[in-house]
Structure formats: structure tokens, C-alpha cells
């Protein structure tokens, strides 16, 4: 039953794996002229497109810093790990980066649940984390207490939800709304909730709340249902891949009302998928407008390196990189606790999407914009500068 040859193969396989494990377990000889940064992102699995886009942005920021001679005379080395789009794997990857690769700072992952899974491990090991695009308030604040080592480089859900509710009631004079969220994403759920609260507080009425799931292709059934509500606006706080399809299919079903969204929309793919015409009469909040002069340099650099325009994930990844480099510079050391202090003190830092200042809850204070889609082009509709 047990041929020698197959035993050999089995043995070799198991042996290789074990050896591989042992060697990678031993290889933590950090060179003194390097600063290791852990990039824990969704590189495979369901949301690999968001994770890898964010990583691309981060990589650009790091490359720029290294080309400019590094930070404090040291080169920054990004150590990649794959969180496989799963919370538990994110924790696993973070553990690996911290204990195995001995990284000084972690950046990522992209989605809230994965960051939450990672944050406790980082806190226990006193390694600061910058989450580029996890917008849930829970990421940095837990039961009213700020998590000392966790930061983010994007604004939080309540801000965007508030901004869009105000925009709907004030600018568009909407009295009624329907909300269509991605129930597999914390981001989408909490935005939906905030929007509802603010919209109703402003005297509006939410007629219907529906949900879809990540990777859905066909939204017509639910859209047919939403159409019956005949509301003034439709709020879809979700990511661009699904948003494109939702807008396209909604217009096909004859839903012509304004559709509102959030920063998850900010990708040229939305136009490609939905088509320029379908996107007319849609509005979403984001971090920057590409007509903004300050942002141009980032967009150009990104296009040069990757051959396509950055999306919001890439921009936020870039911002996280910028924040980090700035903090390490100011800390003047790669000691994680010193870096943590430096990030806390970030003030008026020019990053890819504008100027940011870290607030006491570890959320950056940065301006938001509302963009209108006109024939496939993002047009700046409003700019909201937050009160610090």
C-alpha cells in the first residue's frame, strides 16, 4: 500500500514545509540601516482589490521617501503579509509581522473588521498601527477609551454620513430617502445608520432600508423594490465595484432620482461600469477633488508608477505612508513607542489628499469634498472644512 516512492514524496513535502518554517522563523536579522514596516493587507480573497490598491498607494509613498534618501538616513523596507480578506488571518498576519519580521509599525488592513482583529495584538506588542481606510469609529476608540496605538489616515463614518445627510436635505431639498447598504461591510452599515439619524433629525423621512452583499452582481430585484418607494434620493454608501453596477441597473430600471454615496465610490471604475450617462445626477463625499492643485502631484506620481489613476484606497494608502514617514522623521528613531508619540502629534501635514492634523481620538482632521458626476467627470460640488 505504501510505496517507497510516495513515502519519499510525502516526506520531502512535509520536510520542506517544516524547514521552511524553521528558517523563516529564524530570519529576523534586521540590518541597522533599515526600518521595517509591516504592510498587512487583503492581497487575496474577497476584497483583494481594495487591499492591493491601498498597498500600491503605500508603496508609492515609501518609494518616494527612499528615493529621497530614506528617513533619518535609513531605508524603509515594506514587509508584506496577506490577511486573505479574513479577520482571523489579519490577526495571524499581524502576529507574524510583529514577532517574526520584527516590524516597527503596521499599516493596514483595508477593512474595519480586519483592523479590529489586528489592533489588540498590536496594542499588546506596543506597535503602532495606521489603518488607511477603516472608517468605523470603533477602530480607534473602544467604549469611550482611545486605543493608544491605533491611528487612521481617513475620516470616520459619522462625518461622511453627516455631510451627505446635510447635502441631501439642504442642497437637494430631499424630503424622503431610501438607503441601500452593503450588509457585509461595517463601513457601509455604520454610514447607513448615521445618514438615517441625521436625515431624520433634519426632518426627512427614510422610507425603506435594503441591503446587498459584497460581490453581488445582480441588484435588480432589490432595486425594483426600492423603486416602489419613489423617494427623493437614494443613499448607497458602498464600494465602487458594486456601486457601479447598482447605478447602472437602477437607471436601466428607470430609477432617475439622485443617488448619493460616500468615499467608497471614488474610483474611475464606477464610470467604466455604470457608464457616464447613468452616473449623471449622482453625488458622493470624498477626501479630495482631482481638480485640487495640492493633489495633482500625487495623482501624477501614481499614474507614472502604475499606469492608471489612483482610486480612493490608493490615495488613503499613500496618505498613511506619508503620515508614517513624517512621524518617523520627527521621532528621529525607529522605536515603536516614539513613533506612536510622533503620530499622535501630527499637525498640518501635507499628504496626498490634503492637510491633516491628528485629533485626540486618533482620527485625522481633514477636509471633505462632495463631488458630482457630470458626464463621467468628477466635479467639485462642495468643500467642507471641518472645525478642528
Amino acid at each position: 500500500m505504501f510505496s517507497k516512492r510516495s513515502l519519499c514524496i510525502a516526506g520531502v513535502l512535509v520536510g520542506t514545509v517544516m524547514l521552511g518554517g524553521v528558517f523563516s522563523g529564524c530570519g529576523d536579522d534586521t540590518k541597522s540601516n533599515e526600518i521595517k514596516i509591516g504592510a498587512n493587507f487583503e492581497l487575496t480573497g474577497n476584497v483583494a482589490n481594495y487591499g492591493s490598491a491601498t498597498f500600491d498607494g503605500l508603496q508609492l509613498a515609501i518609494d518616494e521617501a527612499n528615493e529621497a534618501g530614506g528617513v533619518n538616513g535609513k531605508k524603509i523596507v515594506l514587509v508584506k503579509a496577506d490577511s486573505k480578506s479574513e479577520a482571523s488571518e489579519a490577526a495571524n498576519a499581524a502576529t507574524k509581522l510583529i514577532s517574526d519580521d520584527k516590524v516597527k509599525v503596521l499599516v493596514g488592513p483595508a477593512t474595519t473588521a480586519s483592523v479590529l482583529a489586528e489592533s489588540q495584538i498590536a496594542t499588546d506588542n506596543k506597535v503602532p498601527v495606521i489603518a488607511p481606510c477603516a472608517t468605523s469609529p470603533k477602530v480607534t476608540v473602544d467604549n469611550g477609551a482611545v486605543k493608544p496605538f491605533i491611528f487612521r489616515s481617513c475620516f470616520i463614518d459619522p462625518l461622511q454620513g453627516d455631510v451627505m445627510a446635510t447635502f441631501a436635505t439642504k442642497t437637494l431639498n430631499a424630503k424622503t430617502a431610501v438607503i441601500y447598504i452593503d450588509s457585509s461591510s461595517d463601513y457601509s452599515k455604520s454610514l447607513g445608520q448615521v445618514f438615517k439619524e441625521k436625515f431624520e433629525a433634519a426632518g426627512g423621512k427614510v422610507l425603506m432600508e435594503e441591503a446587498f452583499l459584497q460581490k453581488d452582481q445582480d441588484f435588480k430585484a432589490t432595486l425594483t423594490k426600492l423603486k416602489t418607494a419613489n423617494a427623493d434620493v437614494i443613499f448607497v454608501p458602498a464600494y465602487y465595484e458594486e456601486v457601479g453596477k447598482i447605478v447602472k441597473q437602477a437607471r436601466e430600471l428607470g430609477i432617475m432620482q439622485p443617488i448619493l454615496g460616500t468615499d467608497g465610490w471614488d474610483d474611475t471604475k464606477v464610470v467604466d461600469i455604470a457608464g457616464a450617462a447613468a452616473l449623471n445626477n449622482t453625488f458622493f463625499s470624498s477626501h479630495y477633488s482631482d481638480q485640487d492643485k495640492d493633489v495633482q502631484s500625487f495623482i501624477d506620481a501614481f499614474k507614472k508608477k502604475y499606469d492608471h489613476a489612483p482610486n480612493v484606497f490608493a490615495a488613503l494608502g499613500y496618505d498613511a505612508g506619508k503620515m508614517l514617514i513624517d512621524a518617523i522623521k520627527r521621532a528621529g528613531s525607529d522605536d515603536p513607542e516614539k513613533i506612536q508619540k510622533a503620530i499622535e502629534e501630527t499637525k498640518d501635514l501635507q499628504v496626498g489628499t490634503g492637510k491633516i492634523t491628528m485629533d485626540k481620538d486618533h482620527n485625522p482632521i481633514k477636509s471633505a469634498v462632495i463631488l458630482e458626476m457630470k458626464d463621467g467627470v468628477k466635479v467639485l460640488k462642495e468643500k467642507i472644512t471641518p472645525q478642528a
Binding site: 430585484a221 465595484e241 457601479g244
Partner: protein, 295 residues
């Protein structure tokens, strides 16, 4: 819109969604019929088909019809190659090992594609106008009708091939009793290979059409439709072509109705629940014939 109107519109939505499941399920069911393998890689073949179509359109600047044909041919050959390399050597191995191999092939296709085309979704260019037709309060758009039409035509063509042509008879013979088919002078390996080719080509057609219809393709796009198509095939009675079509349509309609009248988050659960109920009362699917081992 009142309830009836919404119901009719949901049926339209369901049938158009179901046609896509049916299209993938046709190939699934053919392949299952001939070697009784749950080809978990089928959904990924569909994905590869979509990408080949995408590159034919965007890079080679071909129009939709030649792109569709190229995609079907190339993907069909890929299917034959996969069968030859990965499944044929395991023809007499335990079935579960073949299943694991199929899962391996599925991972391989997904992640090799991801490596080469990146996980970012690609958007299919609009290759033709999508006109919405209004029938009273109901809306059907051109692409929906096109997909339904193509699925129906392919099902008819396939049924014709399987029922009437020499190669089709050989397929049925191999599927029913491989050994006796060999006694007729049929080269079973070749027939299996051809079946894989046809099944994969169908999946590719599905991939390209879905790309055109939903505009967006990505390397993991095949996982859920693949699973749904398998559910559709089992629902209709696996190995039976009209069964796959009916199963796909039923699945699509159920999903549309659940999304429209309950909640879309329960859509997949409802689809599986229906499958299980059907299997409990009719263990071999709607069109399937019950067979039990002879003692």
C-alpha cells in the same frame, strides 16, 4: 407599482438572472453527466472565458462576435487541457481525490489569473447599446433578452447535438456505460475530452455575456456563479440539459422573489434551502430518475 406589477417585474429580473445560471449550468451538467465529477473549476473556467473575451475586445480591438468565438474556442481548449492533465490520470482514483484536484485546479486558475491580471476588477467596454424596452409598466432591456435568447439557443443546440448527432450519441453512451461504449468502438477518452471542451466553451460564452451585461469582471468572479450553477444543475437533475436550464431559471426567480419581497441578504440561504427541500423529496432533482444500487 402595486404588488402584481412588482411581482411581474421581479419574475422578469429573476428569469434574466436565471438565464446566466442556466448558461453556466449547461456546461456543468454536461461534464458531470459524462464523468460524474463535480468540476469545482467550472466557475473559474467561466472567469477565464470572460478575461479572454475582455482582452480580445480591448487589446485586439475585435467586436463582440469574434471575441465571443475566440473566447469559446480558447477556453474550450483550456478545458480539454485541464481534463487531460489534471483529471484523466485520476480516472480510476477515489472520487474524492478527483474532487480535491478540482478544487486545486480552481485555486490555480483563480490565483494564477490574479497574478497576471491583478485582483482589481476590469470593466468591459460597452460593446453595444443597451436599450430598455418598456412594456406598460415593465422594463426589459436588450441585454437581458439577449442573454436569455443565447442561453435558450445554446440549450436547444446542445440538446440537438446530444440527442441527434453521432458525437452526442457517443457522449450519452459513454455517460451511461463507459465500458459498453468502448465495445462499440467509441474512444471514451476522446469523447470525454470533447465534452470538456464543449462544457468549457459554454462557460466561456457565459463569462463573456456576463462581462458585457454587468460590465465588470475579476479573478474571483467565478466562485459564486459556479456554485450557483452547480446548485441549478442539481436542482434540475444533474446530467440533464433541460434540467440545468429549468434549475437555473428556478434559482434565478427564487432569488429575485426573495430579494424583492423578503431581503436580499437571505437570497442565497433561500436558494440553498429550496435545493435541500427538493433533494429531500426528490433526491435526484426535478428531472432526475431515481436509481438505487442493486443488491
Amino acid at each position: 407599482m402595486d404588488f402584481m406589477q412588482q411581482l411581474v417585474q421581479q419574475l422578469i429580473n429573476g428569469i434574466s438572472l436565471g438565464s446566466i445560471y442556466a448558461l453556466i449550468a449547461l456546461g456543468y451538467t454536461m461534464i458531470y453527466g459524462i464523468i460524474k465529477l463535480i468540476n469545482f473549476a467550472h466557475g473559474d473556467i467561466y472567469m477565464v472565458g470572460a478575461y479572454i473575451g475582455y482582452f480580445s475586445i480591448t487589446m485586439a480591438h475585435l467586436s463582440i462576435v469574434p471575441s465571443l468565438i475566440i473566447s469559446m474556442v480558447v477556453t474550450g481548449l483550456l478545458g480539454m487541457l485541464i481534463e487531460r492533465l489534471a483529471y484523466k490520470p485520476l480516472r480510476h482514483a477515489p472520487r474524492i481525490s478527483v474532487l480535491i484536484t478540482a478544487i486545486g485546479v480552481s485555486f490555480f486558475l483563480e490565483y494564477t489569473s490574479m497574478y497576471f491580471v491583478s485582483p482589481t476588477p476590469r470593466t468591459f467596454p460597452a460593446v453595444f447599446d443597451n436599450i430598455a424596452y418598456h412594456f406598460g409598466p415593465f422594463i426589459i432591456n436588450g441585454q437581458q433578452m439577449l442573454i436569455f435568447g443565447i442561453t435558450f439557443i445554446l440549450m436547444v443546440a446542445l440538446t440537438y447535438i446530444v440527442q441527434r448527432t453521432k458525437i452526442g450519441k457517443a457522449m450519452r453512451a459513454v455517460s451511461f456505460d463507459t465500458e459498453t461504449a468502448q465495445l462499440m468502438g467509441i474512444d471514451a477518452n476522446r469523447i470525454i475530452s470533447i465534452t470538456f471542451g464543449i462544457g468549457s466553451a459554454l462557460a466561456a460564452a457565459g463569462g463573456v455575456l456576463v462581462g458585457v451585461y454587468y460590465n465588470s469582471i475579476d479573478p474571483l468572479m467565478g466562485i459564486m456563479p459556479g456554485l450557483k450553477a452547480f446548485v441549478a444543475a442539481v436542482l434540475g437533475g444533474i446530467g440533464i440539459l433541460p434540467g440545468a436550464m429549468v434549475g437555473g431559471l428556478i434559482l434565478g426567480v427564487i432569488e429575485a422573489l426573495v430579494s424583492g419581497f423578503v431581503s436580499s441578504t437571505f437570497r442565497d440561504a433561500a436558494a440553498f434551502a429550496i435545493l435541500i427541500l427538493v433533494l429531500l423529496f426528490k433526491p435526484s432533482g426535478i428531472f432526475g430518475k431515481n436509481t438505487r444500487e442493486k443488491v
